[in-house]
């Protein structure tokens, strides 16, 4: 016998992701899914970003196959830092975030930074319930990565070109990267940033504050309409 089914295979993940998003919105926090290759500078960027947000408080959820090294690095500056060890999994799932949310002081926070497992492919396939996707590309990775991994750059809300202090040192055609992104999504914000020199940091912080303001504003309107 043939049974016609028509079921979204990732429905279970998507349901939990939407629950997470509702929790973030109700707590008036901006949740960001930070995605990149290993070694592009995600944790270093957070080490610089969290103090630069001054009075606004951040929670960090970090996914790695093993160790608590990344959570340890931000535990002193973040309101809370939680490490998820994914074992063999190359990405975070919505239900891992959902479990973490039970331990978090969301009402005291302004931002939740979810540092995904270093990987330019798999994290793009699993909604965690974030409000926005931040994708990092570091100069040492080369200017061909947008063309090679188009999907993750297409779904990004902002692309941060990290380690930009190496632009004059390594051969890297920045226009090639911008052109490749423009072919995928004209609405992606592009920021050159260096955690080492702080170049571009102001623009990144301004972007974060603007997005949080909009997100919280939308939520306030939503509550009023209710």
């Amino acid at each position: 016998m043939k049974v016609n089914v028509v079921k979204n295979v990732l429905k279970a993940n998507d349901i939990v992701a939407n629950e997470n998003r509702n929790i973030f919105n109700k707590a008036a926090v901006l949740a960001l899914n930070i995605i990149s290759s290993p070694g592009s500078g995600k944790t270093t960027l957070l080490e610089k970003t969290i103090p630069a947000l001054e009075k606004q408080k951040s929670i960090v959820i970090v996914g790695d196959l093993a160790t608590t090294r990344d959570a340890d690095r931000v535990s002193d500056i973040a309101l809370q830092a939680i490490q998820i060890n994914t074992g063999m999994s190359c990405h975070l799932y919505a239900n891992q975030i959902s479990e973490s949310l039970k331990k978090l002081k969301l009402d005291e926070a302004d931002y939740v930074f979810i540092e995904n497992v270093g990987n330019l492919v798999c994290p793009g396939e699993f909604d965690l319930g974030e409000n926005l996707k931040v994708v990092l590309l570091s100069v040492p990775e080369g200017d061909d990565k947008v063309a090679k991994y188009p999907t993750i750059f297409r779904v990004a809300d902002v692309v941060l070109l990290t380690k930009s202090d190496l632009l004059g040192i390594l051969d890297f055609d920045i226009q090639r990267v911008k052109d490749d992104i423009a072919k995928l999504n004209a609405n992606v914000t592009f920021i050159e940033i260096s955690s080492k020199t702080s170049s571009g940091m102001e623009e990144w912080i301004a972007w974060l504050k603007e997005k949080r303001g909009k997100s919280v504003g939308q939520q306030a309107r939503f509550v009023t309409e209710e």
Binding site: K2, V3, N8, A12, R154
Partner: protein
Amino acid sequence: MHELSIIVSMMEQIVDVAKENKIEKIDEVHLETGVLRQVIPEVMQEAFASVKLNTICENAILQIIEAPALVLCKQCKSEFEPSIDDFICKICNLANVDILKGNEIILKAVIGDSRNESF
């Protein structure tokens, strides 16, 4: 290897479908994957081959149907099929689109033997 996660989720749904329809042995599974999902059919087959052992799918074939993408240009409202690395509308010369199709991963059908049929 997100393909393994997808196959594991699919297997959970297949078990539910089998229970609902009293299917004891599954011969075929039809899965539709949109081309915009980064799903490699060969990797899906590898993942299915390892996950199906000792399940009702042990002897089942996984048939993967790739579904094309379709997008809507937000400016001129024309619909077109993009390639995975080029979403520029040829009329507006801008990549500013809504995805209409191509993101699906859908369990379409399960073919198997029910208890009634085996008697």
